[in-house]
Protein backbone atom coordinates (compact mmCIF):
# COMPACT_ATOMS: atom_id res chain seq x y z
CA UNK A 1 0.00 0.00 0.00
CA UNK A 2 1.41 3.41 -0.95
CA UNK A 3 0.57 6.81 0.42
CA UNK A 4 0.99 9.16 -2.52
CA UNK A 5 2.17 6.81 -5.21
CA UNK A 6 5.86 7.59 -4.83
CA UNK A 7 6.65 6.72 -1.20
CA UNK A 8 5.62 3.56 0.63
CA UNK A 9 3.56 3.89 3.79
CA UNK A 10 6.31 2.56 6.05
CA UNK A 11 8.40 5.59 5.07
CA UNK A 12 6.02 7.79 7.11
CA UNK A 13 6.78 5.74 10.22
CA UNK A 14 10.53 5.62 9.55
CA UNK A 15 11.30 8.91 7.82
CA UNK A 16 15.11 8.78 8.21
CA UNK A 17 16.91 7.36 5.21
CA UNK A 18 19.62 4.80 6.01
CA UNK A 19 22.18 6.72 3.98
CA UNK A 20 21.48 9.96 5.82
CA UNK A 21 21.65 8.12 9.11
CA UNK A 22 25.13 6.73 8.33
CA UNK A 23 26.17 10.07 6.94
CA UNK A 24 25.50 11.92 10.19
CA UNK A 25 27.38 9.33 12.23
CA UNK A 26 30.45 9.49 10.00
CA UNK A 27 30.40 13.29 10.04
CA UNK A 28 30.50 13.36 13.83
CA UNK A 29 33.19 10.69 13.84
CA UNK A 30 35.31 12.75 11.44
CA UNK A 31 34.96 15.80 13.67
CA UNK A 32 36.09 13.75 16.63
CA UNK A 33 39.12 12.52 14.66
CA UNK A 34 40.12 16.09 13.78
CA UNK A 35 39.82 17.02 17.46
CA UNK A 36 42.12 14.10 18.29
CA UNK A 37 44.49 15.33 15.60
CA UNK A 38 44.70 18.67 17.41
CA UNK A 39 45.39 16.89 20.69
CA UNK A 40 48.30 15.02 19.09
CA UNK A 41 49.81 18.32 17.91
CA UNK A 42 49.58 19.62 21.47
CA UNK A 43 51.31 16.43 22.64
CA UNK A 44 54.14 17.01 20.18
CA UNK A 45 54.37 20.62 21.35
CA UNK A 46 54.99 19.39 24.89
CA UNK A 47 58.25 17.79 23.77
CA UNK A 48 59.30 21.03 22.05
CA UNK A 49 58.78 23.09 25.20
CA UNK A 50 60.12 20.59 27.71
CA UNK A 51 63.87 20.14 27.91
CA UNK A 52 65.31 16.65 28.42
CA UNK A 53 66.87 16.14 31.81
CA UNK A 54 70.48 17.27 31.81
CA UNK A 55 72.16 15.03 34.35
CA UNK A 56 75.37 17.07 34.38
CA UNK A 57 73.44 20.14 35.50
CA UNK A 58 71.65 18.35 38.33
CA UNK A 59 72.76 18.84 41.88
CA UNK A 60 74.44 15.65 43.07
CA UNK A 61 74.59 15.34 46.83
CA UNK A 62 77.24 13.00 48.21
CA UNK A 63 75.28 9.87 49.04
CA UNK A 64 76.34 6.89 51.10
CA UNK A 65 75.54 3.77 49.08
CA UNK A 66 77.02 0.81 50.93
CA UNK A 67 80.04 -0.47 52.80
CA UNK A 68 82.70 -2.34 50.82
CA UNK A 69 82.09 -5.64 52.60
CA UNK A 70 78.34 -5.46 52.14
CA UNK A 71 78.29 -7.02 48.68
CA UNK A 72 79.76 -10.22 47.29
CA UNK A 73 81.27 -10.14 43.77
CA UNK A 74 78.28 -10.03 41.45
CA UNK A 75 76.11 -8.60 44.20
CA UNK A 76 73.71 -5.76 43.55
CA UNK A 77 72.31 -3.04 45.76
CA UNK A 78 69.61 -0.56 44.81
CA UNK A 79 69.79 2.98 46.11
CA UNK A 80 68.37 6.42 45.39
CA UNK A 81 70.54 9.02 43.63
CA UNK A 82 70.58 11.98 43.27
CA UNK A 83 67.05 12.36 44.69
CA UNK A 84 64.75 9.97 46.52
CA UNK A 85 62.76 9.52 43.30
CA UNK A 86 65.71 8.44 41.14
CA UNK A 87 66.54 4.79 41.42
CA UNK A 88 70.11 3.61 40.86
CA UNK A 89 71.97 0.35 41.23
CA UNK A 90 75.40 -0.58 42.50
CA UNK A 91 77.12 -3.73 41.20
CA UNK A 92 80.29 -5.24 42.58
CA UNK A 93 82.08 -6.30 39.40
CA UNK A 94 85.25 -7.71 41.01
CA UNK A 95 87.02 -7.87 44.34
CA UNK A 96 88.13 -4.27 44.07
CA UNK A 97 85.77 -2.72 41.52
CA UNK A 98 82.26 -1.38 41.77
CA UNK A 99 80.02 0.20 39.18
CA UNK A 100 76.86 2.23 39.70
CA UNK A 101 74.29 3.33 37.14
CA UNK A 102 71.03 5.11 36.91
CA UNK A 103 68.43 2.33 36.89
CA UNK A 104 66.55 3.74 33.93
CA UNK A 105 66.93 2.43 30.39
CA UNK A 106 67.89 5.12 27.88
CA UNK A 107 65.31 3.75 25.45
CA UNK A 108 61.94 4.29 27.12
CA UNK A 109 62.79 4.56 30.78
CA UNK A 110 62.13 1.01 32.00
CA UNK A 111 64.13 -0.08 35.06
CA UNK A 112 67.21 -2.13 34.18
CA UNK A 113 68.36 -5.10 36.23
CA UNK A 114 71.65 -6.94 36.60
CA UNK A 115 71.75 -10.46 35.16
CA UNK A 116 74.21 -12.79 36.90
CA UNK A 117 74.02 -15.32 34.06
CA UNK A 118 75.01 -12.97 31.26
CA UNK A 119 76.93 -10.45 33.41
CA UNK A 120 74.99 -7.64 31.75
CA UNK A 121 72.54 -4.95 32.75
CA UNK A 122 69.32 -5.86 31.00
CA UNK A 123 66.14 -3.99 30.19
CA UNK A 124 63.19 -6.40 30.15
CA UNK A 125 60.90 -4.11 28.14
CA UNK A 126 62.61 -4.36 24.74
CA UNK A 127 65.53 -6.71 25.43
CA UNK A 128 68.16 -4.00 25.51
CA UNK A 129 71.37 -4.69 27.42
CA UNK A 130 74.35 -2.71 28.68
CA UNK A 131 77.94 -3.52 29.57
CA UNK A 132 78.17 -3.74 33.34
CA UNK A 133 81.70 -2.25 33.36
CA UNK A 134 81.10 0.94 31.40
CA UNK A 135 77.35 1.16 30.65
CA UNK A 136 77.80 0.97 26.87
CA UNK A 137 74.93 -0.45 24.82
CA UNK A 138 75.51 -4.10 23.88
CA UNK A 139 72.26 -4.89 22.10
CA UNK A 140 68.69 -3.76 21.60
CA UNK A 141 67.10 -0.37 20.95
CA UNK A 142 68.71 1.88 23.63
CA UNK A 143 70.22 4.85 21.74
CA UNK A 144 72.82 5.84 24.34
CA UNK A 145 74.86 4.38 27.22
CA UNK A 146 73.46 4.04 30.71
CA UNK A 147 74.40 7.09 32.81
CA UNK A 148 77.23 6.00 35.10
CA UNK A 149 77.58 7.29 38.62
CA UNK A 150 80.98 8.32 39.93
CA UNK A 151 81.85 6.46 43.11
CA UNK A 152 84.25 7.34 45.87
CA UNK A 153 85.49 4.75 48.37
CA UNK A 154 86.62 6.11 51.71
CA UNK A 155 87.21 4.20 54.94
CA UNK A 156 85.35 1.15 53.66
CA UNK A 157 82.35 3.20 52.64
CA UNK A 158 81.11 3.66 49.05
CA UNK A 159 79.72 7.07 48.17
CA UNK A 160 77.95 8.26 45.02
CA UNK A 161 79.35 11.69 44.19
CA UNK A 162 78.23 12.59 40.64
CA UNK A 163 77.86 11.56 37.02
CA UNK A 164 80.64 10.33 34.79
CA UNK A 165 81.04 11.87 31.35
CA UNK A 166 80.41 9.34 28.62
CA UNK A 167 81.14 9.51 24.90
Amino acid sequence: MEDDGSKPKWRKDFPTAWNDDNYVTRRDFTKFLVLTSGALVVGNGYFVLRRPTDLAAEATPRTLVASTDELQVGGVKLFAFPTENDSALLVRTSDTEYAAYRQRCTHLGCPVTYSHDSNKLECPCHNGSFNVSNGQVLEGPPPSPLPKITLAIENGQIFAVGWEKQS
Binding site: T30, V34, S37, N44, F47
Partner: protein
Protein backbone atom coordinates in the same frame (compact mmCIF):
# COMPACT_ATOMS: atom_id res chain seq x y z
CA UNK B 1 12.84 0.80 -8.07
CA UNK B 2 14.17 4.03 -9.52
CA UNK B 3 16.34 6.20 -7.31
CA UNK B 4 15.47 9.85 -7.17
CA UNK B 5 18.12 12.49 -7.69
CA UNK B 6 17.99 13.23 -3.97
CA UNK B 7 18.75 9.60 -3.13
CA UNK B 8 21.67 9.55 -5.53
CA UNK B 9 23.14 12.69 -3.99
CA UNK B 10 22.66 11.26 -0.53
CA UNK B 11 24.60 8.15 -1.53
CA UNK B 12 27.34 10.29 -3.09
CA UNK B 13 27.59 12.35 0.08
CA UNK B 14 27.87 9.22 2.17
CA UNK B 15 30.62 7.85 -0.04
CA UNK B 16 32.51 11.14 -0.09
CA UNK B 17 32.28 11.36 3.67
CA UNK B 18 33.53 7.78 4.02
CA UNK B 19 36.52 8.66 1.89
CA UNK B 20 37.26 11.78 3.94
CA UNK B 21 37.03 9.72 7.13
CA UNK B 22 39.59 7.25 5.77
CA UNK B 23 41.95 10.12 4.84
CA UNK B 24 41.60 11.74 8.26
CA UNK B 25 42.19 8.40 9.97
CA UNK B 26 45.33 7.77 7.89
CA UNK B 27 46.70 11.23 8.74
CA UNK B 28 45.88 10.63 12.40
CA UNK B 29 47.94 7.44 12.36
CA UNK B 30 50.87 9.37 10.89
CA UNK B 31 50.53 11.92 13.71
CA UNK B 32 50.49 9.12 16.27
CA UNK B 33 53.71 7.78 14.77
CA UNK B 34 55.28 11.27 14.89
CA UNK B 35 54.33 11.61 18.55
CA UNK B 36 55.85 8.20 19.28
CA UNK B 37 59.24 9.03 17.75
CA UNK B 38 59.25 12.45 19.46
CA UNK B 39 58.63 10.74 22.80
CA UNK B 40 61.31 8.12 22.17
CA UNK B 41 63.79 10.85 21.28
CA UNK B 42 62.86 12.81 24.40
CA UNK B 43 63.21 9.83 26.71
CA UNK B 44 66.62 9.13 25.21
CA UNK B 45 67.67 12.61 26.38
CA UNK B 46 67.71 14.21 22.92
CA UNK B 47 65.65 17.00 21.47
CA UNK B 48 66.59 17.04 17.81
CA UNK B 49 63.34 15.46 16.58
CA UNK B 50 60.93 17.45 18.76
CA UNK B 51 60.56 20.50 16.49
CA UNK B 52 60.46 18.67 13.10
CA UNK B 53 57.82 16.24 14.37
CA UNK B 54 55.82 19.11 15.87
CA UNK B 55 55.84 20.97 12.56
CA UNK B 56 54.94 17.84 10.61
CA UNK B 57 52.12 17.10 13.02
CA UNK B 58 50.89 20.68 12.69
CA UNK B 59 50.87 20.25 8.91
CA UNK B 60 48.80 17.11 9.30
CA UNK B 61 46.34 19.04 11.49
CA UNK B 62 46.00 21.71 8.79
CA UNK B 63 45.19 19.03 6.21
CA UNK B 64 42.63 17.55 8.62
CA UNK B 65 41.05 20.98 9.16
CA UNK B 66 40.85 21.46 5.40
CA UNK B 67 39.12 18.10 5.11
CA UNK B 68 36.76 19.06 7.95
CA UNK B 69 35.92 22.24 6.04
CA UNK B 70 35.01 20.03 3.12
CA UNK B 71 32.74 18.00 5.41
CA UNK B 72 31.04 21.18 6.58
CA UNK B 73 30.57 22.22 2.96
CA UNK B 74 28.85 18.91 2.29
CA UNK B 75 26.66 19.63 5.32
CA UNK B 76 25.68 23.01 3.96
CA UNK B 77 24.91 21.60 0.52
CA UNK B 78 22.84 18.91 2.19
CA UNK B 79 20.91 21.53 4.19
CA UNK B 80 20.01 23.49 1.07
CA UNK B 81 18.29 20.49 -0.51
Amino acid sequence: MNKTERDVRSIQRTQALGLVTVFVLAILLIQLWLLTIAMEDFLAGHKSLALPTFLASGGCLLINLWLLRYVNKIDQDSGRE
